[in-house]
């Protein structure tokens, strides 16, 4: 190898290959950004977040929340649960039958056979598709995150380290805005022993004027400000809370199916 140009050319090919693969191809495949249809529905997914939530995403970025939180739920597979939706004419027979059977975490064939059995006994049963895996069991989401979930995010904040819990579905888990704000102001008040730093600089502590502010936080016991004072979120904190509440990837999709809950019959 005496020729510098040859090194240059060969590097160009070897290195440029990966550029085509992981820059050009993803932009062509994903950059178009089309909505997708929701499974068993004509609705489109996703819809853009409200403007305040998009500003909240900027607060999320500026404070580096992604250094500790991921926004991607993973699943290890899919399983079928069989649920009884009606007991028919002989409820006792059906109840006895299902009490001796394993109804959760089945594969498709077994679930089908089970439904047939219950139907033969006069009951009504349905198959529900559920995602499985540790993240799902923790209640962090109903299915794994997919590319569609992030269509309107800029910057996309997937994160890669879970010092704190995953937030892909935090809006479903904790839909209460006051909870989110109090947790931001004093994490240990809502989660005992939390390692999250308090974000007090996003709030103002002020003397209660003629009337308490409508935005003032409602604290759990022992954690509020001194008497006569109230904690009011700054606009940034409110935007961040709206963004957190807007995080719920709770729609079944073609590539991430699950069954919405059916009316379960309880004998």
């Amino acid at each position: 190898m005496k020729n510098g140009f040859l090194v240059f050319l060969a590097s160009l090919i070897a290195l440029g290959g990966s550029w085509c693969g992981f820059v050009l191809a993803p932009v062509l495949q994903l950059g178009g950004g089309k909505q997708t249809t929701i499974l068993n529905s004509s609705g489109l997914y996703p819809v853009d977040r409200p403007g305040m939530a998009n500003q909240g995403l900027q607060v999320y970025r500026a404070n580096g929340c992604a250094a500790c939180h991921t926004e991607q739920v993973q699943q290890s597979g899919v399983a079928c649960d069989v649920v009884l939706t009606g007991a028919g004419k002989n409820p006792e027979v059906v109840t006895n039958l299902i009490s001796s059977l394993k109804l959760n975490g089945l594969d498709k064939d077994l679930a089908d056979a089970l439904v047939d059995k219950i139907t033969a006994a006069g009951g009504k049963a349905e198959i529900r598709i559920v995602a499985t895996g540790p993240d799902i069991d923790r209640g962090w989401g109903r299915r794994h995150s997919v590319a569609e979930d992030f269509l309107y995010d800029d910057p996309v904040q997937l994160g890669n380290l879970r010092i704190g819990p995953d937030l892909a579905d935090v809006g479903m888990r904790q839909p209460d805005a006051n909870w989110q704000l109090v947790h931001l102001y004093a994490p240990q008040s809502e989660v005992k022993g939390s390692a999250m730093p308090p974000f007090r600089y996003l709030f103002r502590v002020k003397k209660i004027g003629s009337a308490p502010s409508p935005d003032a936080l409602a604290f759990p016991k022992d954690f509020g400000p001194p008497a006569g004072y109230e904690v009011v979120p700054a606009p940034q904190a409110q935007e961040l809370a709206v963004y957190l509440l807007s995080l719920h990837a709770d729609v079944p999709l073609h590539n991430a199916p699950f069954s919405q809950s059916a009316a379960v019959f309880k004998p």
């Binding site: 005496k2 510098g4 090194v7 240059f8 590097s11 070897a14 290195l15 290959g17 990966s18 550029w19 693969g21 992981f22 820059v23 993803p26 932009v27 994903l30 950059g31 950004g33 970025r61 500026a62 404070n63 580096g64 992604a66 250094a67 500790c68 991921t70 991607q72 993973q74 540790p134 993240d135 069991d137 923790r138 995150s145 590319a147 979930d149 992030f150 269509l151 309107y152 995010d153 800029d154 910057p155 996309v156 904040q157 997937l158 994160g159 890669n160 380290l161 879970r162 240990q188 989660v191 005992k192 022993g193 939390s194 390692a195 999250m196 730093p197 308090p198 974000f199 007090r200 600089y201």
Partner: protein, 468 residues
């Protein structure tokens, strides 16, 4: 050279301080919590970027320039260019870090500098790289040594990935998870490929020089080079990522093939240093670079493990990932650069380091620091991952608490590294002071005796080269 390395050593200390403060926050979340620009989510990226852009890149560029000039058998000319570039670079790093701390970071890992920081460092890099290419083009020795392939490929690759990432993610952002894919591609190529090429290029020059054995062999090194850039450039998309399945699959396959260049590099290094380790034990540069190459191989194995879907199910999102990154950036790259700097800086300046014994202390502090940082994080990461597999028995908050003892040890590791980095900083500053004094002395001698003009003028020119 002094401008590049002096600034780099300064940023290294900055990085250690930021990293240490960030780490203390695990043990006391309330620590400095009221200070907006010292919140963990800003400190940690700032510490990471201070290490990467503040130290690793300028130090790597400085070493690459010196090696290319050495291997081309030419002297450094046009000194103004690298001096200006070094200052522009450090200005860019300053603006970038300040921007992260005031909340203007871009939100992309390893690419946090906004335009005010990224544009200066991009152009500073171009200046240095073009200058290096001109040195290479004007080489007197036509035959190429393996190190030159590594260095040239790295010089050429950074502007490409850095401009791509900044254009597609910051200037005109693409939509959706394509952002994440490009971000992973960029980070992988900078952290694994660029540092790998520069670090190995330096190791392949210095190790044969120290041991007195020629590189064993050029062909194997060439094979390692091609396979490394062929496979390592495709790594980085994590197995569980919410992207089309072909991307992580391709990354996993490439990571598995990474074993081939790792083996080739191991063989080259082993056959070159075999039997020469004990005689070189007192050579601090040799120890630094040896430890660096070991860390490179180990972090390569960790990278392969994380790309394997069966293992990543446990290690994903745990501290295992940061452990790998720290081992690579600090254990491999920074240590290799320390070794190179301790060797080349006295030769460039023509003066000895003022405190040569501190270099030895720096080595032991760095080695102990990296071990105390990386080993607990890696073990803790696996423990953490195994606990996460058991969602019904172990609450998430408990897994976080169980990580605290490991983090405590890693904070100690960071403290040792900070001490070591301070020693390097003191040594380089001392050397700079010495050199300035010598320059002053020469200048006064030059003024006092016009008759000795020719010789003094010549040595003044040498000193100017040193400044670059």
């Amino acid at each position: 050279m002094l401008a590049l390395f002096g600034g780099a050593a300064f940023w290294l200390v900055v990085c250690s301080v930021l990293g240490l403060v960030a780490s203390i926050k695990f043990h006391a979340p309330d620590f400095l919590a009221n200070c907006v620009w010292l919140t963990y989510g800003r400190l940690q990226p700032a510490a990471d970027d201070a290490l990467l852009y503040g130290f690793c890149l300028p130090a790597g560029l400085g070493v690459a320039l010196w090696l290319l000039a050495r291997l081309s058998q030419t002297t450094l000319r046009g000194i103004v260019v690298p001096i200006a570039a070094a200052n522009l670079w450090h200005l860019g790093v300053f603006v970038g870090l300040a921007a992260i701390l005031i909340g203007d970071g871009t939100g992309f890992a390893w690419l946090e500098f906004p335009r005010g920081g990224s544009v200066p460092i991009f152009f500073a890099y171009l200046m240095l790289a073009l200058w290096a290419t001109m040195i290479f083009a004007g080489r007197r020795e036509r035959a190429m040594y393996p190190s030159q392939w590594f260095l040239l490929a790295a010089l050429f690759w950074f502007p490409w990935i850095y401009s791509t990432a900044n254009l597609f993610l910051v200037a005109w952002p693409v939509r959706g998870v394509a952002q994440a894919v490009i971000g992973w591609w960029f980070a992988g190529n900078l952290l694994v490929v660029w540092t790998g090429l520069i670090g190995l290029g330096a190791a392949f020059y210095f190790l044969p020089k120290f041991t007195g054995r020629p590189l064993q062999s050029h062909y194997l090194a060439l094979f390692g080079f091609w396979t490394f850039i062929l496979f390592a450039t495709w790594c980085g998309i994590p197995p569980g990522a919410p992207v089309p399945v072909w991307m992580p699959t391709l990354s996993a396959v490439a990571a598995a093939w990474l074993l081939v260049p790792l083996l080739a590099i191991f063989l080259v290094v082993w056959q070159t240093v075999r039997g020469s380790i004990m005689p070189n034990w007192n050579n601090t540069s040799f120890c630094f670079i040896g430890a660096g190459v070991d860390s490179f191989l180990l972090s390569g194995l960790m990278l392969m493990a994380m790309a394997c879907p069966q293992i990543s199910r446990v290690t994903d999102f745990t501290w295992f990932g940061p452990a790998e990154t720290q081992l690579r950036l600090y254990g491999f790259f920074a240590m290799t650069m320390f070794g190179a700097i301790y060797h080349l800086l006295p030769r460039v300046v023509g003066l000895e380091f003022p405190f040569p014994k501190l270099a030895r202390a720096h080595f032991w502090l760095s080695l102990a620091g990296v071990a105390l940082l990386v080993v607990p994080l890696a073990i803790g990461g696996v423990v953490q991952g195994l606990k996460w597999q058991n969602p019904n028995a172990i609450a998430f908050a408990d897994t976080t608490k169980a990580m605290l003892p490991f983090l405590r040890v890693s904070t100690t590791g960071l403290l040792l590294m900070l001490l070591g980095n301070l020693l390097l900083f003191v040594n380089i500053m001392g050397l700079t002071l010495r050199w300035k004094l010598a320059l002053l002395k020469q200048f006064t001698a030059f003024v006092k005796s016009p008759l000795a003009e020719t010789s003094a003028g010549a040595s003044l020119r040498d000193e100017k080269e040193a400044q670059a």
